[in-house]
Symmetry: C2
Subunit: 387 residues, 2 copies
Amino acid sequence: MNVPYRVLSLLRDNGPLSRAQLADRLEVPRPRLLAELDRLVATGKVLDAGPAASRGGRRSTLVRLDPGLRFAAVDLGASSIDIEITNGGLDPVASYSETADIRSGPVGILGRVSELLHKLGAKGHYTRLDAIGIGLPGPVSFRDGVPVSPPIMVGWNRYPVRDTLAREHDCPVVVDNDVNVMALGERHSGVARSVEHLLFVKIGSGIGSGMQHHGRIYRGAEGCAGDIGHIQVETEGPVCTCGNTGCLEAYFGGASLARDATAAALTGRSPALAARLAERGALTAVDVAECATGGDTAAIGLIRTGGQRVGQVLATLVSFMNPSMIVIGGGLAGLGYLLLAEIRSVVYKRSLPLATGNLPIVMSELGPRAGVVGAALLASELAYGGE
Amino acid sequence: MNVPYRVLSLLRDNGPLSRAQLADRLEVPRPRLLAELDRLVATGKVLDAGPAASRGGRRSTLVRLDPGLRFAAVDLGASSIDIEITNGGLDPVASYSETADIRSGPVGILGRVSELLHKLGAKGHYTRLDAIGIGLPGPVSFRDGVPVSPPIMVGWNRYPVRDTLAREHDCPVVVDNDVNVMALGERHSGVARSVEHLLFVKIGSGIGSGMQHHGRIYRGAEGCAGDIGHIQVETEGPVCTCGNTGCLEAYFGGASLARDATAAALTGRSPALAARLAERGALTAVDVAECATGGDTAAIGLIRTGGQRVGQVLATLVSFMNPSMIVIGGGLAGLGYLLLAEIRSVVYKRSLPLATGNLPIVMSELGPRAGVVGAALLASELAYGGE
């Protein structure tokens, strides 16, 4: 057993614990535990934190993570940079977000990420970083720390993301796919806590998914497992950005929804969307959500149809994977109950009854924070010596 | 480390080994290994087998599995019972097959299985069984050793298959889904040896799949993972035996192929199939295969269309799971290269390029033996103390 990692992750997830509590939880002989704790204190990861409440016998002393531990969590989206600085227990001590076009390339984007991190350091949020975790919107070779043939990340193929950031910030760095990272966050401190077989579905500009089995990310042979946006839902269908026809993303996701909403506005099917288009010059998923809430039939129809398409793909995946829970996250999760109801209706109707009997399909609890929470968790796993 | 299990499985997979070779392979201190071997000899699982060839130093003695070890492997299909008796190294010492309708229920079928096993014992193929492994054509609760809501196994729901056979034969019994068992066989001694992420697809009367990650079967939350026969391939489509419309099995598999072949014969589209129907009164997949080989256009068309439907579902699963290899097995694998070519063509065209770049799609090597090989392996894992 990896005792140092177990100690550090217990302190991360539970806060300060007494030596006696740690010995109980880890089932390690007390002398070995005390020796390991001494080593962790010597490396500056763990501190003594005074006497614990008495349990009747000899007083035990509390240990806690060093309050100076700092992780940087970075979530890169198609059009956004989100950063959180956390302490060793993953509580946020600072956060920052801005828009940025991932297609402007790795030099510009990673340069900006480093600049933002240095600024947060200069403001006193950290003196040094213990690790950085970063999620990218595309397939990632986890082992090499590089994106691999990422469809929307023009110019990023095999760019050394991990090594670039590690050199710049002189700390270990871990890189993963953004949906895997969100799934990790949701399982660690969101709605999917301790779920055995988790299927996390991100519906944002595009659509992706991440799987976790007993808390371990499933990546597949080439690291691209979960890439469901280009699954074909109709043999004949609209042309997708990928060049194929009838992909899920050609039917739904932020980009397709904006396209369909604009069409509904221009053809007079939706007076509400037409008014917004005239006012703002362009439509997004937020407009569709608000018009649907306002009762606009066409907007409601767009969400329903999208939910059915997503449900159609998920019904297939549920029969195949038999997950314990499905969590829907990403920007379009904001479309709310109407979307969820449609997805549920198709999955519960179409999948194997045995696979849906005990299957919750729920919204993400962490919302837009899922990515940074997962990235911080990955960073801590690396720093604490997890696998 | 579970040393006894490691020793027994090494001897199973490699044949006799010297004590020195075992110590090398297991990286266990020699005194501990020798003590474990003594215990295995005392329990009658392992024998001394004389001196090993010299490696220059002190002569080491060979150890081997006791030649009297016996496993029974049972593969129940929709319409068949296949049995193999193996030694401890999984080499067959006797085998027997007969037709049987699974719908005649658990009492009749398991009674017949026990009768056949006792007969094989009476013929001297074993004196006692060390374990039985059995595959069933439906979802199985592996933990409880019972089928769970199996669609084609009328009357079998939660029947205590494991406990019935264990009582009757006074040995441990392990029960699993037939496709999981075939996948195990193929990975242990077929075409998929040591493949990391295996997707095994069985196309028989119905269609199912089994996954293995690093040699471990993936079962999902309720044990029904891989049940792909009722995935919807068309929203509007033929009615399936399950009551839904457009399921994969409503398009392809032995039952659908017989139906479509009969229609092709009766409507005059296939003179070759019509001639066979007139001669035999009914058509099966074998007739379609033979007429296709003979150049019959309609028969070729049936296999092509079926391959495309299977390919369509597999393309989705490949994007999602990103397997290292796909193996096609089951009775209809006999349709041969034409079927395989269609499946490959659709998967390679439709799935994510990163997921198909290094993806072999191949025929089962063990063919109809895959099930009993896997069932024997499961039995041995149980008897040797694997997880």
